[in-house]
């Protein structure tokens, strides 16, 4: 396969081959990360702009480290906007930055579709680092990569995602990455946060956490994003933690070698108990590590070649 993609806006239109290509490239990148000198000159002279309209220290840092490991010049641009502010902020800012001729813009924005929109108006490559409730493709890829490292395969695994499905961009990317690889996907949460239409993704929907966790190979907990909810989708955090939080008792229903994932940051004691977060089943920190390799792979794949306009 030849890599011909200019932008990474979402995994919705990624083929299985492309996903595998990224994972293979990430494996090579992970080799670099195990060395004493964790830096290669591949993107020397290229500029990558982190354009973040939403606070996200983790994702931004991960991209920054990934770029620096590849010797790219990393520039950070942060600006807080509300999701319903008029478009001038995004388009004007992006065109300004595009005029400075970066190779790649990495964008995080509170509006769904912001990365798609941007990609139509700039000449550089665009990587979506999270757009509203739409997608977070690098997270979807790193989750897949983490499971592949832990389990060697994804096909046939029962993978359960629990929490705020309605607002989660992580889910919308992971459904594609795990789905393409043949996982048995389950979505679980309070009914007010799990729209019934999501069943059309091919995932099984349940509002019963026990059913969701029973015999699961992978349990992914989502962060309850209180800041996203203008009107309450459930009565209280206390009740949420009791009905939809993962603790040892419920996790004991999963397969013996099941792993726990979380895109972070964790609300300890809400969606995930302390005990489990720090247990041997948790691969949460491996996810973070995989994140750098995945992002290096994508930066590398997008930053070169004639087809990318610079």
């Amino acid at each position: 396969m030849e890599w011909r993609r200019k932008h990474v806006l979402g995994l919705a239109d990624f083929s299985t081959e492309e996903i595998e290509f990224v994972i293979d490239t990430a494996r090579s990148m992970e080799d670099v990360l195990t060395r004493d000198i964790k830096k290669v000159p591949a993107l020397r002279g290229k500029t990558v702009v982190n354009l973040f309209f939403e606070a996200s220290t983790r994702t931004r840092t991960s991209f920054e480290i990934a770029g620096k490991r590849l010797s790219a010049d990393m520039v950070n641009f942060s600006s807080a906007v509300s999701s319903v502010e008029k478009g001038e902020t995004l388009l004007d800012t992006a065109r300004n930055i595009d005029s400075m001729k970066p190779s790649i813009i990495v964008i995080r924005h509170p509006a769904s579709g912001a990365a798609h929109f941007l990609s139509r108006y700039v000449s550089c490559s665009v990587i979506n680092a999270g757009d509203g409730s739409n997608e977070h493709p690098t997270q979807g890829l790193l989750d897949l990569y983490s499971v592949l490292k832990a389990k060697d395969k994804v096909k046939g695994l029962k993978i359960t995602i629990i929490g705020d499905i309605l607002h989660s961009r992580v889910v919308r990317s992971s459904l594609h990455s795990f789905g393409r690889m043949g996982a048995d996907l389950w979505l679980c949460g309070p009914a007010s946060l799990v729209p019934r239409e999501m069943g059309r993704s091919g995932a099984t929907i349940t509002y019963d956490i026990r059913e969701a966790v029973r015999d699961a190979d992978v349990v992914m907990m989502l962060r309850i994003q209180l800041e996203r909810q203008k009107t309450a989708f459930f009565p209280s955090l206390r009740e949420y933690a009791r009905k939809y939080g993962l603790n040892s008792e419920i996790f004991s229903l999963a397969k013996k070698d099941a792993v726990i994932m979380h895109p972070g940051p964790i609300n300890r004691g809400v969606e995930l108990s302390d005990e489990l977060a720090d247990s041997a089943h948790s691969i949460i920190l491996n996810q973070v590590e995989s994140g750098v390799a995945i992002r290096m792979a994508l930066l590398y794949l997008l930053a070169g070649g004639h087809n990318a306009a610079h």
């Binding site: 319903v84 509006a111 769904s112 579709g113 757009d131 309605l166």
Partner: protein
């Protein structure tokens, strides 16, 4: 004097659908002559209507002319030019201008500007509440005297059931029509697309169909209770049609309209975050679209109106959630509606009913919507066979916000008369008046 010679005259109001000629004199319909009886020599303009349909001038009862206040999007001159080009002799313009049409001065401004610069009849709708704020009623009677044909806070609903109740009751004394943009704002707030698989997949904050349906139910129940008259604007949902049907059966004085995009498109059109398919109410699912079609066929839905909502490129060239609601529609409403004829379930006469006779009747425009002798000579001549592709060069509106560029259309208005004046013509040798 003007002769429209030997076309298919379709006038449901007088029960006529036959080939013949129409004589126009002094801005009125002077005579109908069956084929073969047209005079050999005629002292005046002769429009050859062979193979064409001759219809009472179309009336678009839901249009935003953006004048006063948003003239960079549209003004009365360009809006009525778009209307004429799309086959309309009359438009009914909504009150969400700046200033809002909640004062007789604004109503008069619109009517005077339309009279001097317009190429279509313009009937203003005044606001139900001052500033569209949903709090105090406007001066209905005075506004009516200034020329308002109906009252609506379109763009938003009258949120308070109490205010709407009072308005319905008060309007009865003057036989005024209230028109409602039916939306439960609390349910729809923050939403940008129909709640369904497409919105969930794209992560767009959803608007549930129940937001419209609950409001329609409320409006119908209040009309029933007060005995007032209400017209439900731009119905987009299946249950909305069902509720309208139920209300009519129960004898409520309720009528309803839909727009061409609700029976032509579904929410699949927003794929790729296409802001040109963003409107309020939003495009719905296939089940809703089918129910709208059914409502048109069985007569539940009274009117097709365009909800022509011009927006500058700038307010559409942004993130989906931030984009303005609405599309232009005056120039696509007729050809898209003619698409309904293909299945045979909608007859040409029914189409004329939906786009001319019914709006005239609902709005109480006694001289419009008919080709009977003595009616205003508002006439739309349609070539039902012509095939064309809708493109930017067809647009007379100031704005270009439409999802229909590149669509293959069948049928088009080739000439429009307004009080006997030619306001639009694609016919050889027939020029519109300057």
């Amino acid at each position: 004097m003007l002769l429209i010679k030997e076309g298919r005259v379709i006038d449901p109001e007088s029960g006529r659908d036959e080939w013949g000629s129409i004589v126009v004199a002094d801005g009125k319909v002077a005579d109908f002559l069956p084929n073969g009886e047209a005079p050999k020599r005629f002292d005046g303009t002769v429009i050859d209507a062979a193979g064409k349909w001759v219809l009472p001038g179309l009336i678009d009862m839901h249009v935003h002319l953006r004048d006063p206040g948003f003239e960079w999007k549209e003004d009365i001159r360009t809006g009525t030019a778009a209307a004429a080009s799309g086959g309309f002799a009359s438009v009914v313009c909504m009150a969400n201008t700046n200033p809002v049409n909640d004062h007789p001065e604004v109503t008069r401004y619109i009517r005077e500007k339309a009279a001097s610069q317009g190429t279509a009849n313009v009937f203003p709708v005044a606001a139900v509440t001052r500033g569209l704020e949903g709090k105090e009623m406007t001066d209905f009677a005075e506004l009516q005297e200034a020329g308002a044909v109906a009252f609506s806070d379109d763009g938003r609903p009258v949120r308070s059931a109490l205010i709407l109740r009072r308005a319905l009751e008060y309007a009865k004394a003057f036989d005024l029509l209230l028109m409602e943009h039916a939306e439960d704002h609390e349910l729809s707030e923050g939403g940008a697309a129909n709640e369904g698989w497409t919105a969930h997949r794209l992560g767009i904050p959803p608007i549930p169909s129940a937001a419209e349906e609950i409001a329609i139910a409320r409006d119908i129940l209040l009309a029933r209770f007060t005995g007032g008259r209400i017209h439900i604007q731009h119905i987009s949902t299946k249950m909305g049609v069902d509720l309208l049907r139920m209300g009519k059966r129960a004898g409520v004085r309720v009528t309803g309209e839909t727009a061409p995009h609700y029976f032509t498109l579904t929410d699949a059109a927003i794929e790729g975050y296409n802001t040109h398919a963003k409107m309020n109410p939003p495009l719905r699912g296939e089940e809703d679209r089918m129910a709208i079609l059914e409502g048109i066929v069985d007569g539940t839905i009274d009117v097709i109106a365009s909800d022509h909502a011009p927006h500058d490129e700038y307010t559409k060239r942004c993130e989906f959630i931030a984009a303005s609601n609405g599309i232009i529609g005056l120039e696509t409403a007729l050809p898209l509606s003619m698409g309904l004829l293909a299945g045979g379930k909608v007859t040409p006469a029914r189409l004329v009913e939906l786009m001319s006779a019914a709006p005239a009747r609902i709005l109480g425009l006694k001289e419009k919507g008919s080709l009977r002798k003595g009616a205003d000579a508002d006439i739309t001549i349609v070539d039902p066979e012509t095939e064309w592709e809708f493109g930017e060069s067809d647009v007379r509106s100031k704005s270009r916000n439409t999802p229909f560029f590149g669509w293959k259309m069948r049928g088009r208005a080739v000439a429009v008369l307004c009080h006997g004046r030619i306001t639009h013509s694609l016919l050889k040798g027939i020029a519109p008046v300057a």
